[in-house]
Symmetry: C2
Subunit: 715 residues, 2 copies
């Protein structure tokens, strides 16, 4: 069995885990008829939305696949389609489990907290393992077929099938994921904000009240946004990170004797961590108390600690001894297997630190959330001011962690070191996604308990389970964006390496065998590129926020209309038309997701051609500006995404903190102000912020593809 | 008369204009005794605040002056002190005129709109001309003494007295200005937000009601923040921009025969535009209607159009013929006087476009403000969401304008072209500051009219005058940040040029006579520097926002306490203790301004030494990371500042738009939501946002000084 085949086997293990665990989950008691009826409505809405979303994305996907095939050949087109389809599949299956687990979690919670936790967490774990497993399989199988089966070489500069194929695969995953993240994000927050505005604020009925026509849409949103959108996003992050590491390895180290092992190592690390993640899931147990977060962290910690020897062993095997020294002759840098191991360990440490920092900024026990809650006492305005201040501040520590990570990894093993740190971060994705996908299940479970009129004690338990969901959701986003920053740097390195390799074909002059493209900050076109790149996340964020506001306004009008036309709804005698609201949000979300998603696809192309046209140096400055655009997107994107996701989480939990009885509790003026903050934070943390993550990477991947197309691969 | 002496004479003309116009303003009728009593209270509070602020800044200033003297010699220390003191003087005099013109404007408005406009605008014009005149005089006289009187050469690489002196002068101006902008910004918004929260929201009394103990503090804030702080800021922007242009000229063009004329040209352009600005002030007339904004623009347009032949003539004189070709032998680039003229014209066009874009994003007639007003109908949350969306979006067009400006100017005349575009932008500062400084005068006039119980018709007129103030204030900030972006690029160019010139003294290796410092984006320490630089505006913004929130909370407590202890205040029978609130805000603002202001001073030093210590390449990477830090601050700072200032202005005018009778008008639910948005926008647009402008430049200047100190100048 080759190393790649081992990785494939470990990937399959994740699928097997998913299959058996889903049988356990689906075999659980789905509760009474009323509960099942509500769950069916949510299920139906989610299904309808995803069908329509993926139909729309499918049309875009086919067009792009044809373009990829035209410019880069059929294998790249196939890679693109694999990435695209599996990204969709990951989201689809995750959502399907989630909408079935919600009602069963509500039922299980009526027996006890541990029972509810087990069921909801298992549902999350299925999504988590499917995301990690499918992502690993996508790359490993595709790579295995291209090399072992079709016999394409890795280190022949004139045969770029493998590298281009991997980049196209990543592009497919990213493109679908930005649509899913943004579409799902607009859906979930339009429904959430709309339902809150018209329900809580205007009609004065509580959250999840069945009289609110938008209540099913709100619950559907949790599944299509927080579950399906997130799963597609993490699938993309995984594929891009591991893929970028392999691409960079192929480009930089084509001349080292250990090339084959080095190509397989990222896959092996991914496979090894799937095993440790599966083991970790069995350690998520309360152990007597009510510390749900503690139970989660126990599982994560087990996965991470076991990953250390697993990665050591994988490295040892792949390089034929951990002490093996790899010397890149083109650059003269060298590193040992041990250096790569340290870089991977660094990735695990970064993951731990990011989780810790995110918890500090979004948990109810610490200064940031408490300061927002306190500021709510003096009104809506001061709540929002303090929330914005926290969201700005929350970028500082993660940035310092990322900076330290870059410096240490680079000193250990150069650019490859950064790539391994990012790969190790993503290797734990199965466990991290499990923690996150748990959130929408418990959120829905609470909603179903409320709507089905279950005993208050059930709602109390689902609330306990759900409170943790806010933090784990924020944690995943921080983790995704931090790893995206590192992965994007790897993509940028691939871009510059490729530029040098294809200088001749691109018609660029060369100096000492390198393309005469000045990436120096002294080149004004670099500054222009940095500015334009930095603008993209802002513009993208503006579009996302506006879309939520507009769609939420439509929801408000629809609900008002339903209330006005049928007074029986508020009286509780007639059933609201839930499907109409779901349908309305569906259409709005799909319409609104298109243009912002195309922004990162088109911007690199436009910037390259415009700068090439206007600069006296032509393409040399076009490529310089394009490279700078990539870095500009990364640098500005990290800050925009971190501030939005952390700020949104903090606002949400500040509201929860007040609802727990602080500063006057539910119904107080402080609570009203906190609800405003929570509403503001919604599109911040669930629409605009997380979608910046795939956006950063699409920009980088499109640049790589543009470069390949201009160099005339596959033609 | 030499060219520099002509510039000095034109600078003195501005002072003469200020002197005579202030006699006109002070000679106007100061109204009845009640009005004078209120005005005296504001005057007293503003005076007390500025005295304490400048005492505190003075201590910091003396310490820094000693450090500058120690590392860079006595002349640099003197330059620093001149910049620092005159920056303070500009703010001080502006505030003094403003607090005397407010009551006279209220009185004049009782006669007619034109009378009120004339008085308020003249008061603004005094501040404007003093800012431009003092800034021009500071540089011109200092330069004249150093060269003509003390005989220091400009183009001797071993005698850096002139260059270091100019940089130190700019540092003095910037350092004082960041304190003044931030201290004044915290004061004005803490008082404003605090007064609104406790007055409008809690006690239900209107704005500017004399029963509110914070009302005088609020009016004081307009003067110390929007007038004195803004004046210091624009003084700094002027000095840094013109100074940086001269420094870059001295560094890049030491070998061209036209050096002397080129050094004088920025001063001449500044002087010429003072004349056109003074002429422009006489064109600010209503001409029958009520279009106050139109009257303002008429004045601006006259100044800008007249500036075109003036700059042409100045360039012709300075270069001995506009067609003179200047060739920089070190880089081989060449440009003609005509190219510099086109770059200057470009600066004027950029100014016009920025004004137009800012008006679009903050004026009540366009989509952005209307969309926020409309979103207010569905509540506080949607108002804030839409406002944030607009603030993100508002960065796009200015960025495109800046990018186009960089490309065109660079193609015309390289880095010097960018410097001339920035210089021409700043040359109109006298007129732009006049439009802005008019704002606090009319704002106060309205307050005084209200508190003194003048006829409603007077308040109507001051409201008409004041509405324009919101837009002109936003315009100035957009203008300042756009020019700061260009000026900072010039400073960055000076940094890299200096690095090459002093490579030997800094112990750096050289390649082809240039320092072997890699500013390439492929160098990870460059990425580290960019990330850390991008972080600074976020951290700075967080600190500013938190400070306002905290200080406003103190105001709320103080006012509640006054109401509780003396029920006569609300009944209107006893006078609140205004001075106590003023004193409290004064202390809070001064305490809060220190740490954020030191952030940009210390960050470059820390980053240089830490990276030098950890990188295997030592100082080469230290300087690379430091350079990248400078660009990171510029790139991220432009977006943070643009989004905050435009968003804040849009929120403010959305409230005004609703108050004008749209979406339910005053007192409606939409209005309440709009008040929340306005409160959120306050620290955005008046504290954190504008202070980013001096912050960007301090970081760059400190880097230049650090480099000079490390190279051992003056020792």
């Amino acid at each position: 069995m080759t190393l790649v085949q081992i990785a494939i086997a470990l990937g399959l293990l994740a699928i097997v885990y998913g299959f058996f665990t889903s049988r356990q989950v689906l075999g659980a008691d789905p509760g009474n008829a009323k509960m099942q009826e509500i769950a069916a409505a949510i299920q139906e809405g989610a299904q309808a939305y995803l069908n329509r979303q993926y139909t729309t994305i499918g049309i875009v996907g086919v067009v792009v696949a044809v373009l990829v095939g035209w410019f880069l050949g059929p294998i790249s087109a196939i890679g693109f389609l694999i990435g695209a389809i599996l990204s969709g599949v990951a989201g689809y299956i995750g959502m399907n489990i989630s909408v079935r687990a919600n009602v069963r979690t509500a039922q299980a919670a009526s027996k006890g907290l541990q029972e509810g936790l087990t069921l909801a967490f298992r549902a999350g774990a299925i999504t988590g393992m499917l995301v990690a497993g499918l992502a690993l399989l996508a790359i490993a199988v595709f790579y295995w077929v291209l090399t072992d089966q079709l016999g394409n070489p890795i280190n022949d500069p004139n045969n770029r099938v493998v590298v281009d194929g991997l980049v196209a695969l990543a592009f497919g995953a990213s493109l679908i994921s930005i649509f899913a993240r943004l579409g799902g994000g607009i859906f979930t927050k339009a429904a959430d904000v709309g339902a809150d505005l018209v329900g809580k604020v205007e009609a004065g009925i509580p959250e999840d009240d069945p009289r609110n026509p938008a209540v099913i849409a709100d619950n559907v949103g949790d599944n299509v946004g927080d579950c399906a959108g997130m799963a597609a996003d993490l699938f993309e992050t995984y594929v891009v990170t591991v893929g970028a590491t392999m691409v960079l390895t192929a480009l930089l180290m084509s001349n080292v004797p250990q090339l084959e092992g080095l190509m397989a190592l990222p896959l092996l690390i991914g496979g090894a961590c799937i095993v440790t993640s599966i083991i970790g899931t069995y350690f998520v147990r309360l152990g007597g108390g009510k510390n749900v977060m503690g139970a989660m962290y126990k599982g994560f910690l087990v996965s991470a600690v076991l990953a250390i020897p697993a990665i050591w062993y994988a490295t040892d095997v792949a390089l034929g001894g951990i002490a093996t020294e790899v010397t890149i002759s083109s650059s003269g840098t060298s590193f040992t297997g041990m250096d790569l191991f340290w870089c991977s360990l660094l990735g695990l440490v970064i993951t731990g630190l990011i989780i810790w920092i995110t918890e500090y900024y979004t948990g109810t026990n610490y200064r940031p959330v408490k300061s927002i809650a306190k500021a709510s006492e003096t009104g809506h305005g001061t709540n929002v001011i303090q929330g914005l201040a926290i969201s700005l501040e929350a970028t500082a520590l993660p940035t310092l962690v990322i900076v330290a990570g870059i410096i240490i990894a680079y000193q250990l093993a150069g650019l490859i070191g950064i790539a391994y740190a990012a790969t190790a971060m993503l290797a734990l994705a199965g466990m991290v996604v499990a923690l996150d996908a748990y959130g929408p299940v418990t959120d829905n479970a609470g909603g179903i308990a409320e709507m089905a009129g279950l005993d208050d004690s059930v709602r109390e338990k689902t609330d306990l389970l759900d409170a943790v969901g806010n933090t784990t959701k924020a944690v995943t986003k921080g983790y995704a964006i931090a790893s995206a920053g590192l992965a994007a740097l790897v993509l940028f390195a691939a871009y510059t390496t490729d530029l040098n390799a294809f200088a001749d074909k691109l018609g660029l002059e060369t100096v000492d065998g390198k393309a005469a493209v000045s990436f120096s900050l002294e080149n004004p076109y670099v500054i222009v590129g940095l500015l334009l790149g930095a603008l993209l996340p802002y513009l993208f964020g503006a579009m996302g926020m506006t879309a939520v506001g507009r769609a939420a306004g439509d929801v408000v009008k629809d609900v008002r209309d339903q209330f006005a036309n049928d007074p029986g709804i508020m009286a509780g005698t007639s059933r609201p038309n839930y499907a109409r609201t779901v349908d309305l949000v569906t259409k709005a979300a799909i319409k609104e997701m298109i243009i912002p998603s195309l922004l990162p696809v088109l911007a690199p192309v436009v910037v390259y051609f415009v700068i090439t046209a206007v600069s006296p140096n032509g393409a040399a400055d076009g490529f310089a500006a394009l490279g700078a655009l990539l870095l500009g997107v990364i640098i500005s994107g990290i800050f925009v995404a971190l501030s939005m996701t952390a700020g949104g989480g903090a606002w949400d939990n500040a509201k929860k903190y007040i609802e727990d009885g602080h500063h006057g509790g539910k119904g107080s003026e402080a609570h009203k102000a906190a609800v405003t903050g929570d509403t503001v934070g919604d599109p911040y943390k669930d629409t605009a912020g997380p979608a910046v993550n795939p956006m950063i990477k699409i920009t980088n991947i499109v640049a790589l593809l543009l470069l390949a197309a201009l160099a005339g691969h596959g033609m």
